[in-house]
Symmetry: C2
Subunit: 239 residues, 2 copies
Amino acid sequence: MGGPRATQLAEKVYERIKAEIADFRLLPGDRFTETELAERYEVSRTPVRDALYRLKHEGFLDVAFRSGWSVLPWDFARFDALYELRIVLECAAVERLCQFTGPIPLDSLRAIWLVPASEQKTNPVEVAKLDEAFHRTLVEAAGNPEMTRIHAEVTEKIRIIRRLDFLKKPRISATYEEHGKLLRQILRRRADQAVMLLRAHITQSRQEVHKITLHMLHEARAPRADTERPERRRNRATV
Amino acid sequence: MGGPRATQLAEKVYERIKAEIADFRLLPGDRFTETELAERYEVSRTPVRDALYRLKHEGFLDVAFRSGWSVLPWDFARFDALYELRIVLECAAVERLCQFTGPIPLDSLRAIWLVPASEQKTNPVEVAKLDEAFHRTLVEAAGNPEMTRIHAEVTEKIRIIRRLDFLKKPRISATYEEHGKLLRQILRRRADQAVMLLRAHITQSRQEVHKITLHMLHEARAPRADTERPERRRNRATV
DNA sequence: GAATGCAATCTTGTATGCAAGATTGCCTAA
DNA sequence: TTAGGCAATCTTGCATACAAGATTGCATTC
């Protein structure tokens, strides 16, 4: 049975578990064991453990010695800290971009965000992806791979709540408008203006998400029976 | 033979390997195997692998499928990127500190850095530690755990070359002077001044280290026989 | 001497075995 | 019915077994 499959099993398992967390199939507080996942993914415990430890190190999971794994509850103070870190990184990137002497390589973004309202996407999932790509591209364009790496890490960690920002139409329009304004300021090399807009944009998004999650928590504290998914849930999250 | 020792073996092995890299006992380009380390540390391959994969993920090591592990060569572009990231994080922290309404909790630093020349340390190893602590404390004081975590990560990655900055006496004096000035500006809440000083301070340090490493490289390219350490070195680093 | 082919050895990725102890559920008793 | 205790089961951390294939060193050939 030994020998590697085309790619590393551990890597695949890692991606699958992370996707399960991001898609709410693994909820905060859920508990599970290594053997359980090994059977579900049809591999041995070894690659599962590799993946789990990686996710633990990244702050998604917790392990209790001889007592199984659990998905960490949402920590809003941590989300706030991550949003602030995001602001710091993206603002630094934008400042660097405005200092570029040559052309600023953001044409791909213009084609997506500086378009008439009729061409704007409305699907929340799609817009969430485009939004992530927008901010990632800003940071990448600044040309510091380490900042890009950390920014990507932050993005992964807030994704689960950030997506909630695009569930309402007005928020999608606002995103288009703010991205458009920001892009124009960057391309005109107005660093101060751009940084101000960017900071306001991210802060606004964070506040929206905050509101939504508080609402969700309120709902969750008075759960309706028909939304229960007992399978694989051995503990309700206290969140 | 099974069962846990008091603390986790994998964690211990991780620390030991990282120390070996930081102390130049494992040099860039060195190759080794999992079994080798398992025997050296008297544990099985399992905790060794856990540690190695963590270090790989952090960018210190590389693994070649069925062909052993190696210490990654120094990548100066990467060091530059890390220094720039350091500047971004620390400047953001200092700005936050200057905005504090209450007292700025940096008394411990004053007691170390705002002292007469006669009380200043001169041991390079000691000063390097104090320097790391100084910058870590600045970031910690700003109160964002995520920024603190990333900053600590960056610190770990540049430590190996950053220490070189304190080998010369004048650089130690300069460090004392610059830290002192910076502290005073922060405590007076002169954000702009403080950020300017901090940026200059880190940039200066990076340039010094750059000079020294270039010198070292020059020396290393014409190695003398008496400095060879063949044991465990199966490949000389191309750096 | 230099190049080539081949077999023995090594190496990693994965699977499985094992020990210490945490958890769980049943049985008993009040 | 409820509380308590105990044994069976589970669970993780570490050690070891195994497979596929990469590497190496030696013998052979030109």
